[in-house]
């Protein structure tokens, strides 16, 4: 038996089991072995939950991208009314079981209007994904840059940014979003949704980035770069930012499901995406009146939405577990 693995394993067991500080450096050295993006992917690849989630996310993304192709195959656009698919004598109930599902309308039709649910789901995916991903992107850019600024430069910059963060986090965000969106004109709602969601979302990432930046700024390699005369910008982008990579990826992944839910929720309440543009949340809202007689109408968008949120949640959760293990936390 070689001596070093014994050493490290023992140290690790002590380190994690009892928090012995003297042995902590050895523990993190042992934990840091499989670091890097390749290691993360290797660890994730064998996780069934994470891979299923990723699979569904890829599927929805492809569906969103190729929405026009898919609807041309299925034969119905999201805005076409099909009077032959609903029964006017039954108040516009879809004809046939399961909300009118069949060869003609794959996911059935909307009661009352006869619009094709498959087409609306496919186009709804575009809305959900594009809003959630844009909001995540904007949040990440805001959160990372403001967090870096506050953490690296400290002083007055930090005070101002931290105050704003405290304020935004103590703000009744959902109610305010609803109030703002209800007051704003209906044109270009998608962009407004992204802006409003991001405006309240960035402090949660920025707070963590700020904390990590502060501790990284004290570390030897940053000191060394500073001593070597590197500029502040260079240190932030070359030395600190790369070390925050895994944190940012994990936090962003975990933020996506929240934004999908928020967009759907706002659309559900009627202040999100404006009809007739389809959105999953809005479809569910429309199905409330029909849930007792036509359950398929809420099941289809409900399941699509639930699976998308779940996929991002599981993926983010596993990603965090892998990264935490790598960093020996």
């Amino acid at each position: 038996m070689t001596s070093s693995p014994t050493d490290l394993t023992a140290a690790r067991a002590v380190g994690s089991g009892t928090g012995d500080t003297a042995e902590a450096p050895a523990a993190s050295a042992a934990g840091a072995l499989p670091a890097g993006a390749g290691g993360t992917w290797q660890a994730l690849r064998h996780d069934v939950g994470a891979m299923l989630g990723l699979g569904y996310i890829v599927l929805v993304t492809l569906v969103a991208i190729f929405a026009p192709v898919l609807t041309s195959i299925s034969g119905w656009t999201p805005y076409e009314f099909d009077q032959t698919a609903i029964d006017p004598d039954l108040g516009g109930m879809p004809i046939g079981p399961w909300g009118g599902m069949g060869a003609e309308h794959w996911f059935g039709v909307e009661p009352g209007s006869g619009r094709d649910i498959f087409a609306r789901i496919v186009y709804g995916a575009r809305v959900s994904m594009s809003i959630a991903l844009s909001a995540t992107l904007l949040t990440t850019v805001l959160g990372v840059s403001l967090g870096l600024l506050a953490g690296y430069f400290g002083g007055r910059v930090d005070v101002v940014i931290s105050r704003v963060m405290d304020f935004l986090m103590a703000f009744p965000a959902l109610i305010f979003m609803i109030a703002v969106l209800s007051a704003l004109p209906a044109s270009n709602r998608s962009a407004l949704l992204v802006v409003v969601i991001s405006a309240f979302g960035w402090p949660y990432l920025a707070r963590i980035v700020r904390g990590q930046t502060m501790s990284l700024a004290q570390r030897e390699f940053v000191e060394a770069a500073r001593a070597a005369g590197a500029s502040g910008t260079r240190i932030v982008f070359r030395e600190i930012l790369p070390n925050l990579r895994s944190t940012i990826i994990v936090m962003s992944t975990l933020a996506v499901p929240g934004y999908i839910g928020t967009e759907a929720g706002l659309s559900f309440l009627g202040v999100g995406v404006v009809p007739p543009a389809p959105s999953w949340g809005q479809m569910i809202a429309a199905s409330v009146k029909w849930y007792a007689v036509d359950p398929a109408y809420f099941v289809v968008p409900g399941v699509c939405l639930f699976l998308l949120v779940l996929s991002f949640t599981v993926l983010g959760d596993r990603l965090r577990a892998v990264v935490d293990a790598q960093e020996g936390r």
């Binding site: 994690s16 089991g17 009892t18 928090g19 304020f167 103590a170 703000f171 009744p172 965000a173 959902l174 109610i175 305010f176 609803i178 109030a179 703002v180 209800s182 007051a183 704003l184 004109p185 499901p257 839910g261 759907a264 929720g265 559900f268 309440l269 009627g270 202040v271 949340g281 569910i284 809202a285 199905s287 409330v288 849930y291 007792a292 359950p295 809420f298 409900g302 939405l305 639930f306 949120v309 779940l310 949640t313 599981v314 959760d317």
Partner: protein, 330 residues
């Protein structure tokens, strides 16, 4: 009063004032003219002018805002002469739709919302703490993994989808629960209670899942603390090590989070109350959004802000009582 409490109250008031300002600004700048809305169909330009004058809408922004804030604390009078309307403090204005005082509308509906919120909070605390403790005790077992899966699922299901599923399954298909009917508690306590079962579950489930994860993580973290090892080395019985040295440190941070979550519950109640047709503050807000009834939206937003600020304050005070480190340093 301790100094820190005073600063907290001041900063809380600042937050409220800013919430007020932002909301007011948004409506002032972006919303269609409320006077036109109130006026209705048989409207003349003179009438619109008169309404504007009565509501103070012809004033510049800062004057309007100032009058609004003063109205909250001291009340205000709309219009003048014979047509003047006195609005007693706290005055949040009148609904454009029903002409009722917003404050009265809120007070009327608050008990229902409180019932929904308290019931849900009890439910999620019980479920979250029990689930989290159980999975921490049985770390790595089948039960633990099952709970983890269940929490991820519960966190991912949007509450309006869950509401529809529950209604369809429990009421329509299985008929385990009766259709909700508007009854007073005194008239039919059973029906009253059953009315709230689904709203409680729907509002609680996401929080229950989050609290399960939080409790589990906190307990596992604390069990790795050196002082838990010390307690075991002293020869304390396992049950005492858990009860005294693991649970209290693990559960104390949850008090903070619970306070914030409970205070911020109005947002979640909006959707839950709307789906179940419960006539609380949340549904009132949702309805007024559909009708663009600004004073009501404004009032509910302020109420939400007020609750968050008060929640933070309460948490701060409670924390000084339960964490000795804060108590002494304060």
């Amino acid at each position: 009063m301790p100094r820190f409490l005073l600063t907290r109250i001041m900063s809380g008031l600042m937050v409220l004032l800013l919430v007020c300002l932002f909301t007011y600004l948004v409506f002032f700048a972006l919303s269609p003219d409320p006077a036109v809305q109130i006026c209705g169909k048989s409207c003349t330009p003179e009438l619109i002018d008169q309404i504007r004058g009565n509501l103070g809408l012809d004033q510049p922004f800062w004057t309007q805002f100032f009058l609004f804030v003063v109205g909250i604390f001291a009340g205000r009078t709309y219009g003048d002469g014979a047509g003047a309307v006195d609005c007693a403090a706290p005055c949040l204005g009148y609904s454009f739709q029903s002409s009722q005082a917003v404050w009265d509308m809120i007070v009327q509906r608050l008990p229902v919302s409180a019932t929904v919120a308290v019931g849900a909070a009890v439910l999620w605390l019980l479920a979250g703490l029990a689930g989290g403790l159980l999975s921490a005790v049985k770390e790595g077992s089948f039960l633990d993994r099952f709970t983890t899966g269940l929490t991820l699922t519960s966190m991912s299901i949007p509450n309006y989808v869950l509401a529809l599923v529950l209604q369809y399954v429990l009421v329509v298909q299985l008929q385990w629960l009766p259709f909700p009917q508007a009854v007073a508690f005194a008239d039919d306590p059973v029906q009253w209670f059953l009315n709230f079962v689904m709203p409680w579950m729907v509002l609680a489930i996401g929080y229950a899942a989050a609290y399960t994860r939080l409790t589990r993580a906190n307990v596992l973290d604390v069990l790795r603390e050196n002082y838990v090892r010390t307690a075991a080395a002293k020869g304390l019985p396992q049950s005492l090590v858990w009860r005294r040295h693991a649970l209290r440190p693990a559960l104390t941070p949850i008090v903070t989070i619970f306070g914030m979550d409970f205070a911020g519950l109005l947002g979640g109640a909006l959707i839950t109350e709307t789906v179940f047709g419960i006539n609380g503050v949340g549904k009132m807000a949702a309805d007024s959004i559909a009708r663009n009834d600004q004073p009501v939206i404004m009032g509910v937003t302020l109420l939400a802000g007020f609750l968050v600020v008060v929640g933070n304050l309460v948490v701060d005070v409670v924390y000084t009582a339960i964490d000795p480190r804060v108590r002494v340093n304060a």
